[in-house]
């Protein structure tokens, strides 16, 4: 396969996944600020949304005020935000156009349709129901992308590159949610916070679509250390760091088998899988959750670089 084709497949998937992650961030923030202040609604929730989406400097360059309007506009529509949902869809479609021959008809169809529909949403009307509709549309588009890739693509190298893109982006998104909210995630022995923190924990679960999964896994009320465990170490949870790496390693191994050659990226992914499967939440809390997450984000970026180096250029 052409390196450029692989590169486009990889970034197409990353962009679709990123749009989805940003939509979830907006969704969670919107719900949290809708709470009365006494039960956890905070005004800086929009700030943490911008931080989770990792675009604070670009945001500050454009706006003085951090509120529902500016943040949704910036994260969803702003042309100057390269990671805005609109730009993600735009870039995804460009990636898709460049590699149409490597996509199935179903995949192209949904990307093209999503891009056309995207243009019907008015950036100036992004409150309340309009925003909810928009978020639902974005989530649905990325579900369809994922689903149509799963159902229609040949299980060859093209499929692997598409999955790698999704997984690298997903691992990064989960880690960033944890990075912004790490201060409300506490070890078991620590004193559990008040109702304010409770809604923060629920909000974290919601931003990774794990509100129900949590209860299935732990059969317990929402506890911060279990939220951290679910997002970091639980291999059944598709957005957890452990699950992302298990799959990253698997698809990289598939590639190595297709091409008959191993490389840096296989080694990096495998070592992260080992690290996560040997880790316990207790150790992670002891050596510092914040530090752990920062190291993970850096390692994940390194793996992205290694994949690029090995296959995409």
């Amino acid at each position: 396969m052409l390196s450029r084709t692989a590169d486009n497949l990889y970034w197409l998937a990353r962009n679709m996944e990123r749009a989805d992650a940003t939509a979830r961030i907006l969704d969670a923030a919107q719900r949290l600020v809708a709470m009365p202040q006494a039960t956890g609604g905070t005004t800086n929730e929009w700030e943490s949304a911008v931080a989770t989406a990792a675009c604070v400097p670009a945001f500050r360059a454009k706006y003085d005020k951090v509120d529902a309007r500016t943040v949704t506009e910036f994260l969803a529509f702003a042309p100057e935000n390269p990671a805005s949902i609109r730009n993600c869809f735009e870039t995804a479609r460009q990636n898709a156009r460049a590699v149409r021959t490597a996509l199935t008809g179903e995949m192209w169809d949904l990307i093209n349709t999503a891009w056309h529909e995207m243009r019907h949403f008015d950036p100036n009307r992004t409150q309340g129901e309009e925003l909810s509709n928009f978020i639902a549309f974005v989530k649905e588009s990325s579900l369809r992308f994922d689903g149509s890739a799963f159902r229609t693509m040949l299980r060859n190298d093209a499929y692997c590159f598409s999955r790698l893109g999704i997984l690298i982006e997903r691992a990064d998104a989960t880690a960033r949610i944890l990075d912004v909210k790490y201060h409300v995630l506490l070890p078991e022995e620590a004193q559990v916070g008040g109702p304010l923190d409770y809604f923060q924990w629920v909000s974290i679960l919601r931003s990774v679509s794990a509100r129900t999964s949590y209860h299935w896994v732990y059969r317990d009320s929402v506890k911060p250390w279990l939220v951290a465990d679910l997002l970091i170490l639980n291999r059944q949870m598709p957005r957890s760091l452990a699950s992302c790496y298990e799959n990253l390693s698997r698809y990289l191994d598939d590639l190595a088998q297709f091409y008959g050659r191993q490389g840096t990226s296989q080694r990096l992914a495998r070592s992260m899988v080992t690290k996560l499967s040997n880790a316990s939440m207790q150790e992670i809390f002891q050596s510092g959750l914040h530090e752990f997450i920062n190291r993970f984000i850096a390692d994940n970026n390194r793996l992205g670089g290694a994949i690029t180096e090995q296959y995409l250029v």
């Binding site: 396969m1 052409l2 460009q94 349709t113 190298d157 995409l312």
Partner: protein, 493 residues
């Protein structure tokens, strides 16, 4: 209206002057007495029963499919509407097998003679020495590539893919309007039009024996493989070279790559090492043997042609000259299809093949010649004047529909650089029934069949791209100028 190409164009026009300026166009469906021609029998029946709403509904459905599939094209200079649809007319154009066979023989002759001409121009130049074609038409031609002088190309073939534009003005003759021997486009529309028609009108296909066109892609692949260079391995690798997603014909490039099952490469995907072309793949470099390039000569190799080209591949031409890669079409084929060379085509056919041209040429005045220029200047309001190197319907004057001001402006341009122009009579292009706002009405059409020349033989699928001028009375069929397209049916019995 009958053109007599053997005569001096001046005589032909003198004969025309006595009659009306614009004779009635040849209607491909109906005879002047109102009766339906045989090819259109079943279609006319069907049209009679179809309501305007039903037709409109189908038209909208077709448009929806086009948009969803992303079959769009870019229009030059229109930043706003960057991706537009070519209007698709759902009423097919019908030709009988007899008509087609006659046309196909002519197309094959034309393709053969084009290759003979290019072989000669970049080789012994016998036609120049014989004084058939003036030397400066070759040497001062922008499309002439001195790099190709004395350079053998694989299997001596220059034009493997030609899109020869054909018009009709009466039931008996086909005229060549243009030989497109550089990088003709439109074949994806020929194929997609048929797909859409099969989806929308299965009942019409039941009533007609329509010769298939979908084997074009197999023919194209067979043609490309057949012209692989001698140094290529037994199983040569073919790739399509595109300028990228911003090119107007990008859809077609990716469509063809997909159907052929070959890589669609951009310049940056290729590199040359040891005079061999490789593409960058996820498994390392892979040798490329045949490149169906959809990039103009100018941009192919920054080391040889335009140094500012970022679309091309440095070293490509030296690999080509070393005989390690085939470019389809060859470099420098533009010297065979400009409109001044076109006017010599009947003589060129006779020179190389010793036979009469099977397809007629539209009489053409070469403004580079003093007498012709004088004639053209005097009769601008009656003529169509085109730039020698122009394409896409840009930079031309259509005398009969131009206002005074436009004509005067054009006259000045023409006087300044006469050699840049040719003139032709305004052809009464044939018409076909077409769905328009207030029903079904005749509109002018042309036809672009695609001619493939391989090492073994010439392949032409029965059909082509019919372009239709949607505006009443308009003769401009170019998609960039508001033209539409139709499916073209050749009836197999």
């Amino acid at each position: 209206m009958v053109f007599v190409t053997d005569l001096d164009p001046g005589m032909e026009l003198a004969a025309r002057k006595t009659s009306d300026a614009r004779p009635a166009a040849f209607d491909e469906m109906r005879s002047p007495d109102g009766s339906v021609r045989p090819a259109y029998g079943a279609l006319a029946e069907w049209l009679k029963d179809a309501s305007q709403e039903a037709l409109d509904h189908r038209r909208r459905e077709a448009e929806f499919i086009f948009r969803r599939t992303g079959i769009t094209f870019a229009v030059h200079g229109e930043a706003e509407a960057q991706e537009r649809l070519i209007p698709f007319d759902i009423i097919p154009r019908v030709l009988t097998m007899g008509e087609w066979q006659k046309l196909a023989r002519g197309l094959e002759q034309r393709a053969n003679v084009t290759n003979a001409y290019l072989r000669d121009i970049y080789g012994k130049r016998e036609i120049l020495r014989a004084g058939i074609v003036p030397e400066d038409l070759v040497y001062r031609n922008e499309a002439f590539r001195p790099e190709m002088n004395g350079q053998r190309v694989p299997h001596d073939l220059y034009v493997m893919i030609a899109g020869i534009d054909i018009v009709r003005t009466d039931p008996n003759e086909f005229y060549v309007l243009e030989d497109n021997t550089r990088i003709p486009s439109g074949v994806s529309y020929m194929l997609e039009n048929r797909e859409i028609m099969l989806r929308l009108f299965p009942e019409l296909f039941d009533a007609h024996a329509v010769a298939p066109v979908e084997n074009y892609v197999d023919d194209l692949l067979a043609t490309l493989i057949s012209v692989a260079p001698a140094t290529a391995p037994g199983d040569p690798t073919v790739a399509i070279l595109t300028p990228g997603i911003y090119n107007a014909a990008y859809y077609e490039h990716s469509f063809l790559a997909d159907k052929l099952g070959v890589e669609l490469v951009e310049g940056r995907d290729l590199f040359v090492k040891g005079n061999v072309v490789y593409m960058r793949t996820t498994e390392g470099p892979k040798r490329v043997d045949v490149i169906y390039r959809r990039i103009d000569d100018d941009f192919l190799d920054p080391l040889v042609f335009r140094p500012d080209s970022v679309l091309g591949v440095p070293g490509l031409i030296s690999a080509y000259q070393a005989g390690n890669v085939t470019l389809a079409n060859a470099v420098g084929t533009g010297v065979a299809d400009d409109k001044a060379v076109y006017s010599y085509m009947p003589e060129i056919v006779k020179f190389y093949l010793g036979e009469e041209p099977l397809l007629k040429n539209v009489p053409t005045w070469r403004c580079r010649e003093k007498e012709h220029l004088k004639y053209v200047i005097e009769r601008l309001p009656e003529l169509v004047v085109k730039e020698v190197h122009g394409s896409g319907g840009y930079g031309m004057l259509i005398g009969p529909s131009a206002d005074k001001q436009t004509i005067e402006t054009f006259r000045a341009k023409l006087k300044q650089d006469p050699a840049n122009y040719i003139a032709q009579p305004t052809l009464a292009l044939s018409t076909c029934p077409t769905l328009v706002a207030d029903g079904v009405a005749p509109r002018h059409v042309d036809l672009r069949p695609f001619v493939l020349t391989g090492r073994d033989r010439v392949r032409i699928v029965p059909g082509g791209l019919t372009r239709v001028a949607l505006k009443e009375g308009s003769l401009v069929v170019n998609s960039s100028q508001g033209g539409g397209i139709k499916d073209t049916w050749v009836l197999d019995r």
